[in-house]
Amino acid sequence: MSVQTLPAQESVEFSPALVSFIEEWKDKPGNLIMVLHRLQEEFGYLPRAAVIKMSQMIDVPLAKIYGVITFYHFFKLNRPGKFNIQVCLGTACYLKGGQDIIQELENLLGIGVNQVTDDGLFSVEAVRCVGCCGLAPVAVVGGEVFGKVDPEKLPEILAKFKGV
């Protein structure tokens, strides 16, 4: 019986580096999660068309892949903003007011957790411990870590990224 997969709704290009990574891992046991990581690194999230293409390349059924993607928090199915704002809600940050940062971002950007601003610039995400508990509360904006964040300083931090 031949395996039927859904046709890709949109065409998607894989870079040569990505293709060679998938080829390298294709036959290794337990490769799925590593390949998904690489795919997300490439696109910033896991676009459906790309997952379908990958599923054919490593010969794993789409249903199984989505089962894995949806189990792990790290994998994203929607495109994040240009600057993803990760607010740490580990214990130390929670106690020092991580929730207030989320609240203030909601006020400033008009979006809640896991949403993207209309201009596609910012998205907000609540994350587990980023491991800088000494700097609590912590927010990571576009990969840059900000420690001891005071909600009142947030407009200043955001402005820095708006101009980029």
Binding site: F71, T91, L95, G134, A136
Partner: protein, 595 residues
């Protein structure tokens, strides 16, 4: 020309996020400009542990310990200290009596610490294998390969009394013996670096500061168990640690310390990195192996234990990062030496991530048997802002909360378990009178419920039910009967859950019901939150006597619900108040009251 100074810059994640990389570059730049770049070696090291005061720069040989350094300070450090030999006084750490500490020895934070696991963190450049070797690195591996038998290695570990540092405290030698004893054509060594407890970062700092110690230990484990393949399962959220591991593995392979014929001994061992993807349950060993196999990380029933049937059905030993980091030292200094540190049942040291309402948050390594008081007050410098101590939480979402009466309990595996908490991986979160215990319990339950894989009903349904009940308490709608229901559900979850995640989810609930019953009662009977954290139970009002009508609170209020004329007492419209506390924080006259 000989080197006059070593300049060590902390390159841990905490300090890097406070621009330590810029400091490093600036130091190099200014040393170059001053023409002394051949007289000083500037090194980016792993974590010094004193994260509260980061970024940290240390100058050898005089051991000056600079804290809270800014990139703009680099010029002064070079021109004053490195060129003229005069320490920059204003950057030195100030002790409680406001005296500048000359070196780490003068700093209370370090005085009670014993560094075995963190022996190289903050000392060597983690991306340079030569520096690790210079500190006796790979000497243990050489000793094992050429002077010891696998049995002898396991024997030494047995003598040392080393137990798993991931939380449960299973004897390491027994795990290795069982794995070795199972006949198989392939065995696996796994390093569990899926450090998921919120508020814990010991493993990350170890891997960032001393990656080779873990690689060396895994190779020793491979030799002892007859395994040729190892996996490091690490959180994808730790990019710096992953990078340093990759660099370290490349260097080790090039030097023949990993691979087919290690140091010409004929022994084969190699390591592969596998990334986690943000699932807390994958810290559980059977779930972790499912994840390495590329599946959903759901636990499977034990037995069979991994030492019999583990990864891809082969005998597998899974040890934690910190456990591994102890191994090379045990081999070199002997099991008896290691066993001389600690308590009767718990040997060696434990690394804790000390955070929360404490003055000196950071990474501390102390001998087993050190009391909480020593950690909180001597090392941690007491509670922030002079507040009263309320509790310490250990063991993350699986652990418990300990109150003041246990401050003098020596910490080891048994004492913590007896008190209804657990060692866990090493997060110690200190809480003050400003923190609400019930709210903290709600936080942990929310975490465990979200992280439950959903496979078994006690965890999936029980956790949700518990959370609903605790939420009722925080809203002031719970009854005393709800407390009994909470205890019943907890009892069922402890006994019937498939894995330790479900089995330990009720721990925060049970330990707080035991030691902080009063706080639950205040919420349920008096409808009050003593710490003022549970918003549904708090009302803000303005003391008409104290209010001078400065209008600051009215301007800060996001709801615009504070009214009043300038220089006249103000008032809060309770129907519109969202209890954000902005007015309380803004008032300089103590006129905003919380009740």
């Amino acid at each position: 020309m000989a080197l006059n100074n070593y300049c060590l810059v902390c390159g841990g994640t905490g300090c890097e996020s406070s621009k330590s990389d810029d400091i490093y570059k600036k130091l190099k730049e200014h040393a170059e400009k001053a023409g002394i770049s051949n007289q000083v070696q500037i090194v980016k090291t792993g974590c010094f542990g004193f994260c509260e005061k980061g970024p940290i720069v240390k100058i050898l040989p005089d051991e000056s310990f600079y804290v809270e350094v800014k990139p703009s300070d680099a010029e002064k450090i070079v021109s004053e200290h490195l060129v003229k030999g005069r320490p920059v006084k204003e950057l030195l750490y100030k002790t409680a009596d406001d005296i500048a500490a000359k070196s780490e020895a003068d700093i209370k934070f370090y005085q009670k610490q014993v560094r075995i696991v963190l022996r190289n963190c903050g000392i060597i450049d983690p991306e340079n294998v030569q520096e690790y070797i210079a500190r006796d690195g790979y000497a243990a591996l050489e000793k094992v390969l050429f002077e010891m038998t696998p049995e002898k290695v396991i024997d030494e570990l047995k003598k040392s009394g080393l137990r798993g540092r991931g939380g449960a405290g299973f004897p390491t030698w027994l795990k290795w013996t069982n794995t070795r004893a199972t006949p198989a054509d392939q065995r696996y060594v796994i390093c569990n670096a899926d450090e998921g407890d919120p508020g814990a970062y010991m493993d990350r700092s170890t891997l960032e500061g001393d990656p080779h110690s873990v690689l060396e230990a895994m190779t020793i484990a491979g030799f002892a168990m007859g395994a040729t393949k190892g996996f490091i399962y690490i959180r994808a959220e730790y990019p710096l640690a992953i990078h340093r591991l990759e660099v370290a593995m490349k260097q080790s392979r090039e030097m023949g310390l990993l691979g087919k014929n290690i140091l010409g001994s004929g022994v084969e061992f190699d390591i592969e990195i596998r990334l986690g993807a943000g699932a807390f349950v994958c810290g559980e060993e059977t779930a972790l192996m499912q994840s390495i196999e590329g599946k959903r990380g759901m636990p499977v029933p034990k037995p069979p234990f991994p030492s019999v049937s583990g990864l891809w059905g082969k005998p597998t030993s899974i040890n934690n990062v910190e456990t591994f980091a102890n191994v090379p030292v045990i081999i070199l200094k002997g099991g008896d030496w290691f066993a001389s540190i600690g308590t009767a049942t718990s040997k060696g040291t434990k690394v804790f991530a000390l955070t929360g309402a404490i003055n000196n948050s950071g990474l501390v390594e102390v001998p087993m048997g050190t009391t909480l008081r020593e950690i909180v007050y001597d090392i941690g410098g007491g509670i922030k802002g002079g507040k009263a101590f309320k509790a310490v939480q250990s063991g993350g979402p699986s652990g418990g909360v300990l109150s003041t009466e246990f401050l003098d309990t020596p910490i080891d595996y048994e004492s913590l378990t007896k008190l209804g908490s657990m060692m866990g991986s090493g997060g110690l979160i200190v809480m003050s009178e400003d923190d609400c215990i019930v709210d903290v319990v709600r936080f942990y339950l929310e975490f465990s419920v979200e992280e439950s894989c959903g496979k078994c009903a006690p965890c999936r349904i029980g956790g949700r039910k518990l959370l609903n009940l605790v939420e009722k308490v925080t809203k002031g709608t719970a009854t005393l009967a709800d407390i009994d229901t909470m205890k019943q559900i907890s009892f069922a979850m402890q006994r019937a859950s498939l894995c330790m995640l479900g089995g330990t989810t009720p721990n925060p609930v049970l330990s707080t019901l035991k030691y902080f019953e009063k706080e639950y009662m205040a919420h349920i009977i008096d409808k009050k939150c003593p710490a003022g954290k549970c918003k549904d139970l708090v009302t803000y009002s303005i003391d008409k006597e104290k209010c001078i009508g400065c209008t600051v609170c009215a301007r800060k209020c996001p709801q615009g619900c504070i009214t009043g004329e300038r220089k006249q007492p103000h008032e809060i419209d309770q129907s519109k108040c969202i209890k954000c506390g902005a007015c309380f924080d803004a008032c300089k006259f103590g006129a905003v009251l919380v009740s």
